[in-house]
Symmetry: C2
Subunit: 569 residues, 2 copies
């Protein structure tokens, strides 16, 4: 096996897919393969075909070893220039290091070696660098210590020691977060859960899986597929993200409309508190009303209240048939009405309801190779992709066809087509998934991930479009079924004048309409100081009280989620 | 309108339904009509036919006014002897009044009159008595003050004052709880939410309802039915229970297998904290990852952390077809396998999966008038009731038939029948619902509501049966799809020797198998001191810390949920 000698990032595109990985000496490759967002990792393929398109990162590289990545240990020799940092629209407020925290000493390192053994205490510069940088390359910490605990007891001992010594820590899973929540800000000790990746048990009658927090989502899904079940969440980052991170960030994803929030699907957790206490809430019961249901405090708290080490999750049965329709609407109101009709007609079978405006579709058609509009005529104002997942192919298809006929009669849709096979279904999804990728090819992009009541969701797109006029191209698309808008604003170059036209307007508009400035990405470091746009001072004060109660020294993932001014008072 | 002059309880049975209501001077009747458990209120009917069956409460009564109850103000003249108290199997540990709490003074009453007006400050003995007693007549407080706030601000002012004055309070909704959580233990001020019963808004596209906490579940369901939606929970107590109480107690109910926990269905809450702070978490967003999701702390905390005043709930589309099958299995393992098959074959259409052992069915057949076994041959060891709710009558039926054929071929079921119409479906349900009612007719009954992993759920029934031999009849039935067992033990008379054979064995057995001693009823006063059977000391300690943080004076629903020894330290 070739060992990597150079460190860096490799980004490769192929057929509408985007890959980003980091090569690190000796670590199993599987845990080091990073993808995100709508982008799906085809990690079982090799990479020879992907060197041709490296913009917009403008790096060059020479892979000297192309191994099969998935499920095997492998490494890769990569030489390339460091890519330019991309400017982002929501930079974090500069935060000072909390002087209360200790710095890691040689004695500390020796103590961690005693707990974990030499191999799990990492001080190698290359490996530390990878763990210090988020996958968007927006945030970079300066941690000098990466710990790889192998079990619950080791995590407990680490935290017990760190709490006593006042050493700040950052819990890390697949490091696929978008808001800088999973990398250090300063010199926090990184506790990476990748080595805790065992499936503990699976109850075939009830579909209840218990596993360690470091299990990769895609691996869990592959395991469950053999048992006739699926995970209740599906993300673009599934090839790298870990279930512990999914739960810590309350990940949403593509099946949210069908299976709902993790608050409804997670049955139990094992969590290590700041002082090392092992909190066993790892029940597999569907009903348990004995006292406060504490696990919910940890779901979505982004590692600031405890480190999740084990997860019990209720998994749905695997649907045996999938159908996809691609529909055109003349106005946004029709999209809304179509959503109501689809929910009514398709009932529980609906598994996705995505929408794109004309500009979004045009962007995908223009910039993504192989993407074609399945509707024959010129562009409509809006497009909707409806997916059903059920247990009977022909019945499900008939229902979807009936929805189309009815919607056409009601004047809700102007045109529409149902995929004839899996290839066509995949080509419909390419349009939707291609939008995000296409924006990266068109120049500078300002990205926002908002939750808004569905009836006013498109209003912010129209208002921003009016504010910016010809200065930028404004796209609106996203998970309409969940009220989740992806607002993308494109211009030739990054321009502070354009940014000033967008922010804080977009946050204020969202706040005025009782929306959320972070639908599914969390707050992390990037938006910790912006929480007041979506939560009242009373809400935030109670969060701060809970944080202080559960982590009095503030060692768990500091500088994240909550405003520092409130925490350090 | 006739005014009631006498106070008391009226219990009436008719066609497998049980009614319990309290008549109180001048209050709107709708808010005073109590039912519970599997028993459904037919509150739009009058009561003339129900006097014929009054055992086992052995009270007599003479209704002098029979009004239409539902949706109208009405009252009733009732004269009857006080029914005997029934002994219960899980009596509360005797708890001393916390001497730290003040007692209500005349000045306090004047202050509440200033806030609420005379009509909402109740000191009338009869009305106080009704509010002091739980519907099971197991718990009785001695509160001298019942407050009926009409809006959020009034609740806030009440709590602000009570917190300053150190006056303990008990939040009360429909008072249909089974564990003494909704009545005072001593002289706590009762804050009843019945006057806060407005629907605030309904979003037809997304099925999101916002309403006040005092809305009665059945009324919400009736409202939604007209809009093509249903509430995601359904309870026997729906005619009286209020949505605020449902959320506070994390009510489960009959549709749990289909729509899951309230943690997944409640989108937002407005809650008043102990010091009167109005905590606005009343979002209608499906996705919102901005900070800790605080609403979950209040769901299931039984009014000990705050008083819920408004609720935003995601409501499912109303299914247009329902099918019910009644099946016989030879052993418990077959019931489990049938559950797995049903979940796989019926997919998302499954809406109930109930099981009964032979003794349970025999009990219903023997004691409930009109209940018949739809299967022609003699009794089998186990029975399963499967219900589907979907959007296509013939298709849904075909799928259920296919499940039957396949299960028969696999040897999982010995016999089975699908209801041919709604009447037959209702008669199948009568068997299941009749079990609970029948136990009341057979003598003394010890009732337990346990959650257990499905594979060992019936084990406790078999062990108890062995322990008791001929001394008692042991029934096992319940929501198999949710792992929720109703264990009922019947003997001729209440007997401390039998109880000693059951407790603490049943709790210990449940604890050993990582079950829950309260699947859906909560802990309330009855099981506050038993929490350690289902939660570890570390869990309980964290709950206590959170209680002390959020309600430092402990005024909110004292003596409930958590052990007093830990709270008063």
């Amino acid at each position: 096996m070739t060992r990597s000698r150079a460190f860096g990032f490799l980004l490769a595109r192929g057929r509408g897919r985007l890959f980003l990985f980091r090569s690190l000496d000796l670590l199993p490759f599987q845990g080091l393969f990073y993808t995100h967002g709508q982008l799906v990792a085809q990690s079982s393929k090799h990479y020879s075909g992907f060197s041709r398109e490296l913009d917009p990162w403008k790096c060059c590289f020479t892979p000297s070893y192309l191994g099969v990545i998935k499920g095997q240990k492998a490494s890769v020799m990569v030489n390339f220039s460091v890519p330019h940092h991309r400017p982002f629209s929501s930079a974090s407020t500069s935060t000072k290091r909390n002087p209360y925290f200790s710095t890691v000493s040689l004695d500390d390192v020796r103590h961690f070696v005693d707990i974990l053994g030499h191999k799990s205490v990492i001080q190698d510069e290359d490996r530390l660098l990878a763990a210090n940088i988020d996958w968007m390359r927006k945030f970079k910490g300066s941690s000098q210590l990466l710990l790889l605990p192998k079990n619950t007891e080791e995590v407990s001992k680490i935290l017990q020691y760190c709490n006593t010594r006042c050493l700040a820590v950052v819990p890390q899973g697949g490091n696929t977060g978008l808001v800088g929540g999973s990398v250090p800000v300063y010199d926090e000790v990184i506790i990476n859960l990748s080595s805790m990746d065992k499936n503990i048990s699976f109850d075939k009658v009830n579909g209840i899986l218990i596993c360690e927090a470091g299990c990769i989502l895609e691996n869990l899904n592959s395991f469950l597929a053999n048992e006739g079940y699926i995970m209740p969440l599906d993300l673009g980052a599934k090839g790298s993200c870990q279930i512990g991170g999914n739960v810590s960030t309350n990940a949403g994803g593509l099946h949210f409309i069908r299976y709902g929030s993790l608050h409804g699907n997670i049955l139990g957790l094992e969590v290590i508190l700041a002082d090392g206490t092992i909190l066993d809430m790892l029940t597999t019961l569907r009903k348990d009303n004995t006292g406060y249901d504490l696990k919910h405090i940890f779901i979505g708290s982004e590692g600031t209240l405890g480190i999740i080490t084990k997860v019990a999750v209720l998994t749905p049965c695997k649907p045996s048939s999938t159908n996809v329709a691609f529909l055109a609407c003349n106005d946004y109101l029709s999209c809304q009405k179509l959503l109501a009709e689809a929910k009514r007609d398709l009932g529980e079978a609906i598994s996705a309801f995505e929408f794109m405006d004309c500009s979004s579709v045009e962007m995908a058609l223009t910039h993504i190779e192989g993407v074609r509009n399945p509707l024959p005529t010129s562009l409509y104002n809006f497009y909707v992709l409806v997916e059903t997942a059920g247990t009977d192919e022909s019945y499900d298809r008939t229902k979807l066809e009936a929805l189309l006929v009815r919607s056409m009669e009601m004047g809700l849709i102007s045109d529409g087509v149902i995929a004839q096979d899996l290839n066509q279904a995949s080509s419909f999804w390419q349009i939707r998934e291609g939008v995000s990728e296409a924006t990266g090819k068109a120049g500078a992009v300002y990205k926002y991930d908002l939750s808004l009541p569905v009836e006013m969701l498109y209003g912010v797109v129209e208002e921003i479009r009016m504010r910016l006029g010809n200065a930028a191209k404004v796209l609106g698309f996203g998970h309409l079924g969940d009220g989740n808008l992806h607002l993308n604003i494109l211009s030739a170059n990054y321009d502070s004048k354009i940014l000033a036209q967008i922010e804080p307007f977009v946050y204020e508009w969202t706040a005025q309409h009782r929306g959320s400035i972070s639908a599914e990405h969390g707050l992390g470091l990037m938006k910790a100081e912006k929480i007041h746009y979506s939560k009242s001072a009373k809400n935030v004060n109670l969060m701060v009280s809970i944080k202080k109660l559960m982590d009095p020294k503030g060692i768990l993932n500091p500088y994240k989620v909550l405003p520092q001014s409130l925490l350090q008072n």
